[in-house]
Assembly symmetry: C2
Homo-oligomer: 231 residues x 2
């Protein structure tokens, strides 16, 4: 565990425990370096980390201040912390609709950057947020990277399995957001009439060495999902 992550957790915990409100001033950089017995540069890296997580903001010449997310019940679009944290925090559960192995269509092959002769896992699921339908998801996993998957795993958090059991490191992702009208399976599994609004998020996940391993199309139920983004 790097020091700067460790110190970040400690400061985060302190903010939480002491219930510091938005705008509360924290100790200065040099003071923090003393408190946690690390160099100034390490504290700076810690602060950058906390800043991108939206926990603090820094004002040159003035100080470091606490920042808070205002509204509750929104899904964060950037995995600031672990995605699992979010899952348990918001109470998200999955129901498996179908699971199979297949040859990729052209659309899938393009987005996974593979040949039509490679094999992919296809997983269809409905996700629930606090017992309400949140989303209908169609995911494709490249079989030569995600070497094994089965129905039982697909019912839980696939990403958790990929990280822990397969020890695959997830590097980065591209997400495309498109607003559409529902139809067919999408209407059916979201339990909405045809032509209801929906947010389609197409996600492509890459390993740390830059290879696509997951292409997903997630249709969100417009009444049961709201999103949040800090920058």
């Amino acid at each position: 565990m790097p020091k700067y992550i460790d110190v970040a957790s400690k400061i985060e915990k302190k903010i939480k425990d002491e219930k510091l409100s938005q705008g509360t001033k924290l100790p200065s950089v040099t003071e923090l370096a003393d408190i946690y017995s690390v160099s100034k540069n390490t504290i700076l890296k810690t602060l950058t980390t906390l800043e991108t997580r939206g926990e603090i903001y820094q004002v040159q010449g003035s100080g470091i201040f606490v920042r808070h997310k205002k509204r509750k019940g929104y899904i964060t679009l950037l995995e600031n912390k672990g995605f699992l944290h979010e899952l348990t925090y918001l109470g998200i559960k999955s129901k498996l609709i179908s699971f199979k192995t297949k040859k990729p269509s052209e659309e899938i092959a393009i987005n996974l950057n593979c040949s039509s002769e490679d094999e992919v896992y296809e997983v269809k699921r409905v996700q629930y947020i606090q017992d309400q339908i949140m989303s209908y998801e169609i995911s494709y996993y490249k079989k030569n990277i995600v070497t094994y998957l089965n129905k039982s795993i697909a019912q839980d958090s696939i990403f958790n399995y990929i990280k822990t059991a397969l020890k695959l490191n997830i590097g980065f992702s591209d997400k495309y957001l498109i607003v559409e009208k529902t139809k067919g399976d999408v209407s059916k599994f979201l339990d909405l009439p045809d032509n209801s609004p929906t947010l389609l998020i197409e996600e492509i996940y890459y390993t740390t060495n830059g290879e696509q391993f997951d292409y997903s199309k997630v249709y969100y139920h417009y009444e049961h999902s709201q999103f949040f983004l800090q920058s």
Copy 2:
């Protein structure tokens, strides 16, 4: 201009000029430090900058590689570069619908963190992307921070004016995404039938010292807008 920003621009330009493709390996950290005559730490900061912009990705023990945004015509949800760049790049223009000064409603007062006695500018606009209706936007600016605004300015880029003329530094923002059905003014100005899908993005912008100065509700035309997010 800090060195690390300067070097970032140079590397960015190099990638663009030489049309380096996704996955192309760049020189190592130490080589880059030599090439641009800066210390290793400065290059690391440069690389972090380029990484968050989605231009490169780093793989420990292996190297630094070029990353590219795949699809065209998507609006980036994070202002990686200047927002203006995006405006001109995508060809976005505004039409002013109304402009006035008013006392904030409770909703506005909460989101701008001000009293109901303060005054705010209210600006309603329709934005066009390549001559198609992109969005209908209702914005509120706190008058004690955005000290002056008029119709003529509101027709152009207000943020550009705020930055250059008012020399106000924009610090960070919160964005909330909600999918809705259109009605009333929203349908009217987006030129869509009632109950059409729309993406509502509520945005709150803060100055560098953490004070809210802008609260905006932007309704996007679902057929003429798609969004993009890298992480």
